[in-house]
């Protein structure tokens, strides 16, 4: 099969990154323009966040299928090395993946269980010591990263012809029987909760995703999407109650924990003051919103919320700028069109003109080019006009 046809098939099967970003995988399998050949193909088996176990379980139970999916990725991307990063608190998954990878040359590499090592950039750094350029793509450094669950769906799509219609969802927290469920997309959260024996008492919040980066849902009538890696029915015990926010004391705890080496407190000042240019100077867009800064903040400032706000404002401003630019271009195009049409009309008139007799030949301007002749004709009139206006002003 031609790589392009294979990528089309993968796209049509709806294969996307199941780590949570749901980026279309077929796009990431096309290296053209970024690098000739991949140095490292990385399989992300380091769970995104605490509480989640969906990647752990799929590696334990479907290791063979994941490896079959990796074969397809390796076929398309032709990497020099395939690395499978798994957090070291998942010994069963590491063992299962090692067994499945035997004889393939794929290397299973345990990584320290330290949030956010499941982030693609962080895992790449851990495994290869390479940092993706902050204004570029990971392929610029010869690395591409896929989630293990994505590799599984790739295998299903290519080898079994099954598009992505389900995914593994971790249902945990205050439910009777926390477990991982292979759920069809579109299943309501409420049905999955019911499958797990229903809520226990004291559920305060329903979170899609993990405790650090997830989204709090206002209702359990939400459907499972490809991004639903976890449903966390959080009770009071698991959550930090809302705490009063104190002023920033610049203690720098956020600087120490930021995995992107940012200065969160400076970003906060500028985001709060709506100085978005300065926030961008401090590399606002390198923020991966992992939540570590908010987690450690002694003043309980919802830092990530400020960064999201600033990012959204900047995007909105840029959209506005683009709209204005588009309007300007449209206006310019219209003016040019009107001008063009006018000239075309005049050209047509001029074409018709020779049919009329030329009265000027006998006049005093005879022999002069037509434009100068016209100026000469107009001069006496404009002079009188100036004289008249002079009188009126005087």
């Amino acid at each position: 099969m031609h790589p392009s046809d294979l990528r089309n098939a993968i796209r049509n099967a709806g294969v996307v990154g199941l780590g949570g970003a749901v980026f279309p995988s077929a796009v990431k399998m096309n290296l053209s323009g970024h690098c000739e050949r991949l140095d490292h193909l990385i399989l992300n088996g380091a769970e995104c966040e605490p509480w989640m176990t969906c990647d752990d379980l799929i590696m334990r139970e479907r290791a063979e299928e994941i490896v079959a999916g990796i074969h397809i990725l390796a076929h398309l991307l032709n990497p020099q090395e395939v690395l499978i990063g798994i957090e070291d608190d998942k010994p069963e998954a590491i063992a299962a993946m090692r067994a499945a990878c035997a004889g393939t040359g794929y290397a299973v590499r345990p990584v320290p269980t330290r949030y956010p090592s499941g982030g693609a950039k962080q895992l790449t750094k851990l495994l290869t010591n390479k940092e993706a350029p902050f204004k570029g793509r990971s392929t610029d450094i010869g690395v591409q990263c896929f989630n293990v669950a994505t590799a599984y769906t790739l295998h299903r799509a290519v080898n079994c012809g099954e598009p992505v219609i389900s995914r593994i969802v971790t249902v945990t927290g205050h439910v009777a029987r926390p477990q991982n469920i292979d759920a069809l997309l579109g299943t309501a959260f409420a049905d999955l909760i019911a499958q797990c024996g229903g809520y226990l008492d004291g559920v305060e919040r329903l979170i899609m995703g993990g405790p650090m980066m997830g989204f709090a849902m206002h209702t359990d009538a939400m459907p499972v999407t490809k991004a639903t890696n976890c449903i966390l029915a959080a009770g009071l015990g698991e959550l930090t109650p809302e705490l009063p926010v104190m002023p920033c004391t610049r203690c720098g705890d956020c600087v120490d924990v930021c995995p992107a080496n940012l200065l969160p407190q400076q970003l906060y000042w500028h985001a709060r003051a709506k100085e978005f240019d300065k926030a961008q100077d401090y590399h606002l867009f390198s923020c991966i919103e992992c939540g570590c800064c908010s987690y450690v903040c002694p003043s309980h400032i919802p830092l990530v919320q400020y960064y999201r706000y600033a990012k959204n404002e900047i995007w909105a401003q840029e959209k506005e700028k683009q709209r204005a630019e588009l309007a300007r271009q449209r206006h310019q195009a219209r003016m040019e069109r009107l001008e063009r049409e006018k000239q075309e009309r005049e050209a047509k008139l001029r074409q018709k003109a020779p049919a009329r007799p030329e009265p000027a030949i006998a006049g005093p301007e005879a022999g002069k080019p037509p434009i100068e002749a016209a100026i000469a004709r107009a001069r006496p009139r404009s002079e009188t006009a100036v004289a008249e206006s002079g009188e009126r002003n005087g």
Binding site: L206, A216, M246, Q266, Q305
Partner: protein
């Protein structure tokens, strides 16, 4: 019927920490040093602490109320108590009550709240209060007690101490100059100015094993507490290391040039407010540099300034001035010491 839940933004779990916890830890860390000071200088140290704490809390409460801030929340952050203790420890043990009160009022009202309160003050409030007192009342501020152990007769009772602090009357059983005397840094400064050598000056009884008698034990106490603060990451390690490192390097250079006119580096490190300032004053995060490299530079700057003021300036010790001067420089330092962002090319 679908369940309904509250929506807030992530993260949903937070570390069990707070400004109040951090500030309380600073207070705990000061205890060994305060204990040593109280042992060598008597009840006055503790009386000063009590006066300062009460005044600071009162001023803080009044200003918070005036600014319409929630009292319980902000009084519970202990920042006013930390300011009070930092200033009180710097004051002479028999400082009159109005001196302590004035310093605290200036620190809390002017240096802190007029600039916007917690987190917004550009200058270290305790040091602003200290410098105001030092410049305005030089005599009261340099009247230090002779430390315990040099002269047993100086030991005052709590009652006598209270009387001295509140009415200014020293107990009649002591000769007027038997109680108070100059500090080791003071003596070093005056005697060197008179043309004596460091070795000659060192024979004075106010000198102990490495530095001032009594003082060196207080410094040890503050070192222990300070190291604990750094260990639990309540203070940034870069600032004390930078400050003490900078002070040690410049003191060594001058000591090697002329050991008879410049005190040895270990004397400078253990004297005056060097260690106390390095771990407790300079590490105030609000007024310090906030980047990792910037903190090192900030610390080194303070260390060098302390030495320059001590050796060539008009005051025996210079920690307060050095800290305030570097406070001004902190925003600029921050601007030029931004860390390399993840994925940014190494310069």
């Amino acid at each position: 019927m679908a369940m309904r839940f509250k929506t807030v933004t992530s993260p949903f779990v937070l570390l069990d920490t707070s400004v109040g916890l951090v500030m309380r830890r600073v207070l705990y860390a000061m205890l060994p040093g305060i204990a040593a000071l109280a042992w060598f200088f008597g009840w006055g140290v503790l009386v000063n602490l009590v006066i300062a704490t009460i005044m600071a809390l009162a001023a803080e409460a009044a200003l918070l109320a005036a600014r319409g801030k929630p009292l319980a929340l902000y009084l519970g952050d202990y920042s006013a108590v930390v300011t009070a203790w930092l200033l009180a420890v710097s004051l002479p043990p028999l400082a009159p009550w109005w001196l302590t009160t004035l310093g605290i009022l200036f620190a809390i009202v002017v240096a802190k709240h007029l600039y916007g309160g917690l987190g917004y003050n550009p200058f270290n409030p305790a040091m602003v209060g200290y410098v105001v007192l030092l410049v305005s009342f030089p005599r009261e501020m340099s009247t230090w007690l002779i430390p315990h152990g040099i002269d047993q007769a100086h030991a005052m009772t709590l009652l006598e101490t209270l009387q001295a602090i509140f009415s200014g009357v020293l107990p009649a059983r002591f000769a007027p100059d038997a109680l108070t005397g100059a500090t080791s840094l003071d003596i070093l400064r005056t005697k060197l100015g008179l043309g004596l050598t460091v070795t000659e000056v060192r024979n004075s009884p106010v000198f102990g094993i490495v530095a001032g008698h009594g003082w060196e034990w207080a410094a040890l106490g503050f070192l222990v507490g300070g190291l604990w603060l750094v260990y639990i990451r309540a203070a940034a390690w870069q600032i004390p290391s930078g400050m003490l490192g900078g002070l040690a390097v410049i003191a060594t250079v001058f000591y090697l040039i002329d050991p008879q006119h410049y005190a040895p580096p270990w004397f400078h490190l253990w004297s005056g407010a060097a260690i106390y300032g390095a771990f407790f004053i300079a590490t105030d995060p609000v007024t310090a540099s906030a980047t990792p490299r910037g903190r090192l530079i900030y610390g080194v700057g303070i260390g060098i300034l302390v030495y320059i003021i001590r050796a060539f300036g008009g005051y025996p010790d210079g920690v307060a001035f050095a800290v305030l001067l570097m406070n001004i420089a902190a925003p600029t330092i921050d601007l030029y010491t931004r860390p390399r962002v993840f994925g940014e090319r190494r310069a």
